[in-house]
Symmetry: C2
């Protein structure tokens, strides 16, 4: 089944909003065996919109439209579909009834202009939208399908998942595509590429190696008649990749490094504390992005000045000898974090977030240490691509080091 | 001048990457007086790409293409333009020379497949790209323009700013559109809308009121023959809006709330410390996103447990009486942050990040306090849209309260 997506809205063409709906939908078509050939974005203009919809309907089996279903004069998706298919709109009594009930249930008067949202054409059925006032349209004509869905992501996503995807799944006959991502840390992209090189020639599943912000990903993509068959094709190759990459693999698909570490800490019944300077609290914030992190995260210190570090028990002598940006001070910060918070493990980051240098050290210089009671594990590097990237990279590296320390601890 | 944008890449159609280039370009066209009518995304397929380019060239004065200029077989933008315009490609000796020099300067052998990047057609000129190997194409044919630029954002943005935008600025004759955004906090969207309502009818500039994550924005958009004339149209209306909104206006355009607060602290020669629980370090991290924040930010405490709060001097009695999620404990945390760090001001956040409740209080319950030596200023609310949104909203509210405290202090 050949598909295309049309996103509607002048705000998108003015660059005022980023259209994330088309990516949301695009990512969900391969598992249904639907091939996406085009994405188009058009403003709130009746003729241009109708022209785009008409051409799409001619060349594609399925046209997915998002946006332009609101009650205002600017919302023209319904009118444009009617124009493109040369059909007349009428008010659907059932839908109007539901809309009036929607407003009444909330104690609001029914604005007459909302009647527009109860319109249909003969080829269209209304798709329910419990999250908003705009029903979608499911249109079948000339053996082809047009689906119009609302623009607000919460409404679109619910309508897609509950109403549209299941209906499409029953119609498609093509092969489905299933992907699986293994996430690793601690092996460079080039090295991992070499280690798995015999598998890179595999055609089904295909295997790709990608450097990402949280490490290197191994992506397997399989094509088969059913989802189960595709998963069956992935299985043995995934197993082989896991064998090769060993404990560098920390998760799969939507897993996060902070979530993986949280699970390890919980399983081992250990607690954690942080002390950070250049990351400014981002390390603690990332760790606490995980629901339930209060079980293992005792707390953190953002020691932005040497004075505050010393106040927390970091050795003045080490700061004097090596500067605050050094392996020695990172190790002592990790120790002090652990001791102050009464945690089993302490992790510390000190460095230069930039753009200016500090203590003669360049922007992007970062020292990270983990203290688990024994000698500290540490890592340091210099890499500068701006302040935000420096903070982000340091947090990822600290989490990776923490994971290594937890594995070493057993 | 009518324009459209074409983004090239199968990865975009698979939903694997989010195309931010088209938004980048879209936002930069109105100030040049260029009207954008369509954005299209097409995969790495010669016929579909050539078809899309051909149709765009027929209906638009300017076609901006991003992506597909790499050296691999998948990179087909050059071939597609040649096919759409029915021209033959040839190797441009100058460009090939520059490419070979690019590799030689880095000590790499020149891969023969990169010769492809030195190709041109008779209607095309090469556009320099010092950030990568792919030159752009500036094509003029039948009185219309096609510009092809590389996909990597760093290369695209440099090429746009230095090479393409200045050339287009010299060609456009239409009115330019200039926008100005005033950012406010402390007045609700509905109330501000009412306060500025006489100005909402203005046609040039238009005035819009938008609720955003960091408060309510007032957006002025003017159309005039030149940038200067448009700014002249905006000036008096901006002044009137500033008079009406008073000190609720904290910044304009790209200003951030944390940057505005940093400037106020620096100007007043004051220092700051934080203590936070539910935001988990995100408040400190946001404050330290500002370059140079080490001048006024002493440090922060992420006191994730009652035990750690008490260890930092927060009253055990208040925690016992009111619970850790309370106005009283927020105020005492702000005081303790200030006292421990030796700062002039302390700001504290305590609350329930969710998804579970805490101490019988619901997810989204948040208490925030600022202590500046005198009685603490505070705010509390309950609003839950998930863990990440709760953290983000609490940080924005804390920064807004801090700003109010600084204004009150004078």
């Amino acid at each position: 089944m050949k598909a295309e997506i049309i996103s509607v809205g002048t705000e998108i063409l003015l660059g005022e909003i980023l259209d994330t709906n088309s990516r949301y939908l695009a990512a969900r078509l391969p598992p249904l065996g639907i091939d996406l050939y085009y994405i188009s974005k058009v403003g709130d203009n009746l003729n241009r919109l109708a022209g785009t919809i008409g051409r799409a309907h001619e060349r594609s089996d399925l046209v997915l439209i998002t946006g332009g279903l609101g009650p205002t004069e600017d919302d023209l998706t319904r009118e444009a579909i009617a124009l493109a298919l040369d059909e007349e709109m009428f008010v659907d009594a059932d839908t109007e009834q539901r809309l009036r009930a929607f407003f009444a249930a909330r104690g609001f008067p029914f604005p007459e202009r909302n009647v527009k949202q109860a319109m249909l054409i003969p080829s269209a059925q209304a798709i329910p939208n419990p999250r908003g006032t705009a029903p979608g349209w499911w249109v079948e004509k000339d053996g082809r399908i047009i689906v119009a869905m609302p623009g607000p992501p919460a409404e679109l996503e619910r309508m897609w998942e509950v109403e549209v995807a299941p209906r499409l799944a029953g119609l498609t006959t093509g092969d489905v595509i299933v992907s699986r991502t293994l996430k690793t840390v601690g092996i460079g992209e080039g090295q991992l590429d070499e280690m798995v090189s015999p598998l890179l020639k595999s055609e089904n599943p295909t295997v790709g190696v990608y450097a990402k912000q949280d490490g290197v990903h191994l992506r397997l993509t399989a094509k088969a008649a059913t989802r189960e068959a595709a998963q069956g094709v992935i299985g043995p190759v995934e197993e082989e990749l896991r064998r090769i990459a060993g404990d560098a693999v920390w998760g799969a698909d939507d897993d996060t490094l902070e979530g993986a570490i949280g699970a390890m800490l919980k399983e081992r019944n250990l607690t954690l504390a942080t002390m950070e300077s250049c990351t400014g609290g981002l390390l603690a914030s990332t760790i606490t992005d995980v629901p339930g992190s209060s079980i293992y995260f005792k707390g953190g210190y953002v020691a932005y000045t040497a004075e505050m570090k010393m106040g927390l028990g970091v050795s003045a002598e080490l700061i004097e000898m090596h500067g605050t940006v050094s392996d020695e001070v990172a190790a002592d910060m990790a120790r002090a974090a652990r001791a102050n918070a009464g945690a089993d493990l302490g992790v510390a980051v000190t460095g230069v977030a930039g753009p200016d240098e500090l203590e003669g050290k360049p922007p992007g210089r970062v020292h990270i240490a983990v203290d688990g009671g024994g000698p500290a594990q540490s890592v340091s590097y210099t890499y500068y691509q701006g302040r935000a990237a420096t903070k982000r990279r340091a947090v990822t590296t600290a989490l990776a080091l923490l994971r290594r320390a937890l594995l070493a601890r057993g």
